[in-house]
């Protein structure tokens, strides 16, 4: 088997757009079904009352990570043909911080806001307009932030390459981290639920 299919010329650019639309439908359906179309549901992650953002993200990451590893180890998938965007460590960390603050202030991230708008969340529509505005500001400011934006360029680099550890070991560590994270998340939810119950009994 020659994977990725597109890179081996199994279908052309036009067909890839149809594939994009179908994949998008699946992506959006799963996000909404998971509760990611509600800002309050998403924000609950940051108050430890419902950790589904973490659970969903890390289950997905772990599954896809193992799948990619297994398929390339079996010789079905050429991992070098899968696009991994270059690392620019500082702008990515700073951008992540800003986006994180935006997440808890606005209630969504870009993808989830699309699902929220589609299901009629009026607040998400304001968020979407803000998103366009933020990108516009970034574009207008680009000449001044271009140097920082292009700084600390490290190329296409993965955790195993950066730390000089075997891919399989990194995989194993991520799985361990995910399991520890899931256990911690379930535990945190229980504590918050008990707190809520105690508060309700008081009043």
């Amino acid at each position: 088997m020659n994977l990725p299919l597109f890179k081996f010329g199994y279908f052309n650019d036009e067909v890839s757009l149809i594939v994009a639309f179908i994949i998008g439908i699946a992506f959006g359906f799963v996000l909404e079904r998971g509760g990611f179309g509600s800002g309050r549901q998403l924000a609950a992650q940051f108050y430890f009352t419902d950790m589904r953002v973490f659970k969903v993200m890390f289950t997905a990451i772990t599954f896809a990570m193992i799948g990619v590893f297994y398929l390339s180890w079996m010789g079905f998938l050429d991992l070098s043909l899968v696009y991994i965007s270059d690392t620019y460590i500082l702008p990515q960390a700073v951008g992540g911080l800003i986006l994180g603050v935006g997440f808890v202030v606005g209630g969504y991230c870009p993808g989830t806001s699309g699902v929220a708008i589609a299901t009629g969340k009026i607040d998400a529509m304001f968020y979407g307009v803000g998103g366009f505005f933020g990108i516009f500001i970034f574009g207008e400011m680009f000449p001044w932030i271009e140097d920082f934006f292009n700084s600390t360029h490290m190329g296409r680099i993965t955790l195993p390459e950066y730390f000089g550890i075997d891919y399989g070991i990194v995989l194993f560590l991520v799985i361990l981290m995910a399991i520890a994270g899931f256990t911690g998340a379930d535990w945190g939810e229980k504590i918050m639920a008990k707190k809520k119950l105690a508060k309700a009994k008081e009043s």
């Binding site: 990725p4 299919l5 994009a20 639309f21 994949i23 998008g24 992506f27 959006g28 799963v30 909404e32 079904r33 998971g34 179309g37 800002g39 924000a43 993200m57 890390f58 289950t59 990451i61 599954f63 990570m65 799948g67 990619v68 696009y83 991994i84 965007s85 270059d86 460590i89 702008p91 990515q92 700073v94 951008g95 992540g96 911080l97 800003i98 986006l99 994180g100 603050v101 935006g102 997440f103 606005g106 209630g107 870009p110 699902v115 929220a116 589609a118 299901t119 009629g120 009026i122 607040d123 803000g130 505005f133 933020g134 990108i135 516009f136 574009g139 934006f149 490290m154 390459e161 891919y167």
Partner: protein, 191 residues
């Protein structure tokens, strides 16, 4: 006894949000994570790339700027990057079609579950107008941050995370750090 039906209609009474009561509850997060993982892996093996979101918004902004003031767009490497070579329509873009799909897929799921209706998602202690203001500010920060990071929770977090990209993991940790650090100041909006 394990019943698939119970798992899919995950009962989560503690967290059913006020004003967002739904006939069907959200699905178990681990099952959703697994399904999302399948979608992500399928994208890797079919397309040789991952999922995204913010890139499509940039295309819309760049086309908008170009329509209002072509000189501004032509003199700006950032906007120019989303306008293509001028021969093909900038909207004939993989991410644009994927995001259109996300909107359709989200609507289908919401409609099936009886969740597709106009409401404001917020905590009980904040007014609608304040919520709208925070949503706009948060969206602005998100747009700016996603461009600075060269991607968002989908492109850098999910995709970069699963491919073990160094930048993707740095981004993800910074995102959670930023959100948790600021959560205290936003507690009146959500709790």
């Amino acid at each position: 006894m394990f019943k698939f039906k119970d798992w899919f209609h995950h009962h989560h009474h503690d967290n059913v949000r006020e004003g967002e009561l739904t006939p069907y509850h959200y699905t178990n997060p681990y099952l959703i994570g697994l399904l999302l993982g399948v979608v992500l892996l399928a994208t890797f093996v079919i397309m040789g790339r991952g999922l995204g979101a913010s890139g499509a918004l940039s295309t819309v902004v760049a086309v908008g700027v170009n329509a209002v003031s072509p000189e501004t767009a032509k003199g700006n490497d950032f906007f120019l990057g989303y306008l293509g070579n001028g021969e093909t329509n900038p909207f004939k873009n993989w991410l644009v079609f994927q995001v259109l799909g996300v909107i359709v897929g989200g609507f289908i799921s919401g409609a099936i579950a009886g969740r597709a209706r106009f409401i404001v998602s917020k905590g009980p202690r904040i007014s609608n107008n304040k919520r709208f203001m925070f949503a706009f500010i948060g969206g602005t920060l998100m747009g700016f941050g996603a461009k600075m990071a060269r991607g968002c929770t989908s492109g850098q977090g999910l995709t970069g995370g699963a491919l073990l990209s160094l930048g993707g993991w740095a981004f993800m940790m910074a995102t959670f750090a930023g959100a948790y650090a600021f959560a205290y100041f936003m507690r009146r909006q959500w709790t």
